[in-house]
């Protein structure tokens, strides 16, 4: 029998595990990706929180977290060559008594390449399985939960919201372009259609997926030299050595438990 046994059922796990997830430091990343026909340079940060915990003993021996929430903030910019909007005005002639007949030449209105900055925050909810990993590293016993595989993110709603945000950003950027007025709505619609949900999904997925693939959070950290009682005036600290640690998911009649065994000396 181990020297120390601790066990949590799923009710306690739904307190302990979300707390561990919520204390993960913010994740961040940057890069470039395709936004439909455009290339976007992006930076993003994300935090994880919440989730319902299900302890599933072998098989498959996982801690399943459903409805885990990934809150993210995304900043990116992309360039749009607006030359497809170029048009030419007709020649205009006037007759002025003291000057005579004056005609303007054919003036072609040209549009530049613009950069559209977009900032958007939202969240996605996902389900992921985690497997326990117990290891002694740097003088500490660690019980980590390591994600199994790559969780699938349901980003369709987030993509739709982001497309709306992109549309607003495009409209704002187009407003700054001289001469765009009469064709602003048409230009924005044409650009949004070129991007589409597929384009946004194609950008968002590769940004968010790395935040959850390889996800690891820590459940237990205990120094191998464990301080039972701290030093006090006239009293030395009392330490024991954690010789071994094991963590398992156990099936018991009526409930599943996370069990941690430790031996000390």
């Amino acid at each position: 029998m181990p020297d120390i046994i601790a066990a949590l059922d799923e009710t306690a796990a739904n307190v302990v595990v979300p707390r561990a997830v919520n204390t993960l430091p913010p994740l961040s990343g940057s890069g470039s990706g395709s936004l439909g026909p455009f290339t976007a340079s992006w930076s993003a940060s994300a935090t994880l929180s919440n989730g319902s915990v299900d302890l599933i003993p072998p098989p498959p021996d996982v801690i399943r977290i459903t409805n885990c929430r990934l809150d993210y903030s995304l900043s990116f910019s992309f360039s749009i060559d607006l030359s497809f909007l170029n048009f030419c005005l007709p020649r205009i002639c006037i007759t002025i008594p003291f000057i005579g007949r004056v005609c303007t030449p054919r003036i072609c209105i040209t549009f530049p390449t613009i950069t559209v900055p977009v900032s958007h925050s939202s969240f996605v909810v996902f389900t992921a399985d985690f497997r326990l990993n117990v290891h002694l590293t740097g003088g500490n016993w660690l019980v980590d939960a390591v994600v199994v595989g790559v969780p699938s993110l349901q980003i369709s709603a987030a993509a739709a919201a982001l497309l709306v945000a992109i549309g607003a950003a495009i409209s704002a950027a187009l407003l700054l372009v001289p001469g765009i007025g009469p064709i602003l709505a048409l230009a924005a619609a044409a650009i949004i259609a070129a991007i589409g949900i597929a384009g946004v999904t194609g950008l968002l997925g590769p940004i968010l997926t790395p935040f959850v693939s390889g996800l690891t959070f820590n459940l237990i950290t205990q120094p191998q030299v464990f301080e039972v009682l701290p030093a006090a005036p006239g009293e030395a600290a009392v330490n024991v050595t954690l010789d071994s640690l094991a963590a398992t998911l156990v099936a018991s009649p009526g409930e599943d438990e996370l069990r941690v065994d430790a031996d000390i000396s």
Binding site: L89, P90, I92, I94, I96, I99, V102, C103, P178
Partner: protein, 220 residues
């Protein structure tokens, strides 16, 4: 593209009628100085006696950049009395410029519109524009530029038809007629200058108070 006759953009035109025969030298500059810089290129207009007809003839000069310098095409013109020369940038890459020239008895400047000349501008952005004389004169006016919902076929048709129509503001002395005008984005407005002291047509919003340096006393 701001409304400013001192700096002609590719959506602007400046036209000058030449009522008297003679040789005219003019230069193009990106700064509206009232005199040419020493190394400015000089272009010429030879005004021959006798007119071209009841309404005169228009000669177009395209302004562009070549080798980092503003150039006129054609660089030399031969015209008749009462003919009109119109300057316009070749394309959007040409920076804003001013046209200033002198003859024996005649001078003109797009930065000081004086007599028998026209300045035109295409308004591209919706909004209210109050234009003033940057040379300090009282002449001014207001132009309301409206936009349309181009997704509406009827509005779109109305707009494309309006692009072929021009609005004209006549300036005589210190008075501009009309002093209020409403146009659609994309339409052209002409300022026909009959006789003034030399005004500019400048968007009031880009008028920056300039602190003039002290003037040196003439020698002697």
């Amino acid at each position: 593209m701001d409304l400013d006759s001192r700096s002609l953009a590719y959506v602007d035109c400046f036209a000058q009628r030449f009522p008297s025969p003679g040789s005219i030298s003019y230069h193009l500059s990106s700064t509206p100085l009232p005199c040419p810089l020493p190394d400015a290129d000089v272009f010429t207009i030879e005004v021959r006696e006798g007119d071209s007809g009841p309404e005169g003839q228009q000669h177009d000069v395209r302004v562009s950049v070549d080798g980092g310098r503003l150039v006129a095409d054609p660089p030399q013109l031969t015209i008749r009395q009462e003919d009109v020369v119109l300057w316009n940038a070749q394309d959007a890459s040409t920076p804003g410029f001013a046209v200033q020239g002198d003859g024996e008895e005649f001078s003109f400047s797009s930065a000081a519109l004086r007599s028998q000349c026209v300045y035109s501008h295409v308004f591209l952005t919706a909004g209210d524009v109050r234009w003033v004389d940057a040379n300090g004169g009282p002449t001014s006016g207001t132009i309301r530029v409206r936009s349309i919902d181009s997704s509406n076929p009827e509005e779109c048709r109305r707009w494309t038809e309006s692009l072929e129509r021009a609005s004209v503001i006549t300036v005589e002395g210190e008075t501009a007629t009309p002093d209020r005008l409403e146009v659609l984005a994309g339409q052209t407005v002409f300022w026909a200058i009959a006789n003034t002291t030399g005004i500019t047509v400048t968007d009031e919003r880009i008028m920056v108070p300039i602190q003039r340096p002290p003037v040196a006393e003439p020698e002697g």
